[in-house]
Amino acid sequence: MADERSVGAEGAPFEMDVERGKIREFARATLSDNPAYMAGEHPPCPPTFLTTTFFWEERAPGSNPWHLVKLDPQRGMHAEQEYVFHGPPPRAGTRLSCRSRIERVFHKEGRRGGKLTFAVMVTEFRDAATGTLVAEARMTGVETEKPPEAT
């Protein structure tokens, strides 16, 4: 059961460098051969690239408040993911200043009965040089009554 007291909890700020080689690796891993991701010194990042915060958060203790929600890992799943860009997506060579917070915990009745619990964490990405808000990531996790059935 999610801990509603986690709403509003904020992680410690952390930095993330948008790197050319990482963009190339990520584009390849998402089966893209778009030359825009491969060419030049400063390619733009793909729309879901900011998920690579994994590599930066783990070097910044206390940066990820998600554990405070306490969704049951046996029944927890990634339900929805959103990215919003306030201009072109950040390019290689950009240093981002990032911060995550728990935005919302809410409940819904599942289609097959039983209560579903959702939690939303938002991460803000600012250009570290200017402070301008560049992007936001919104992750929604859900706790189901049982693991998804194999199809």
Partner: protein, 138 residues
């Protein structure tokens, strides 16, 4: 070259992209790139222990395939929003087809933009994920 404004009426589409049959290697390559090393996506005994018959597909992997399909169509620089919701699990051996269409086109404050919806459909006909995205059209 991304699509032009006069081509992007409501209902406009781009050629579908089909990927697969997906392999464990596809999942592992994505996990290494993303940094999400959850073993349920590559460790067979772990996945079975969690009640699955095989490693569970990585939702963010096919989300990424959907997102770059859309940037191929509308331009990597032009994306302003992308939101994905997962519907059905994906497994090794699945073949995924990415399709999408323009649902809305608008010009506001001199800025042209389109909303698109994107579907990721399995060979069974089941929908693995649905996404919406917004792109500006220079």
């Amino acid at each position: 070259m991304s699509a032009r404004w006069d081509e992007l009426n409501e209902g406009a589409t781009a050629p579908a992209k089909t990927v697969g049959p997906l392999t464990r290697t596809d999942f592992v390559r994505y996990q290494g790139a993303s940094g999400d090393m959850n073993p349920v996506h590559h460790d067979e005994p772990f996945a079975r222990g969690a009640g699955y018959e095989a490693p569970l597909g990585v939702g963010m992997f096919h989300a990424g395939v959907m997102a770059t399909w859309a940037t191929d169509w509308l331009g990597p620089e032009n994306v302003r929003a992308f939101k994905v919701r997962w519907k059905e699990p994906v497994w090794p051996g699945d073949v995924l087809t990415i399709t999408g269409r323009v649902t809305r086109r608008a010009e506001r404050d001199g800025q042209r933009a389109v909303d698109v919806e994107i579907a990721c459909t399995k060979q069974t006909g089941g929908v693995a994920a649905q996404a919406t995205a917004t792109f500006v059209v220079p």
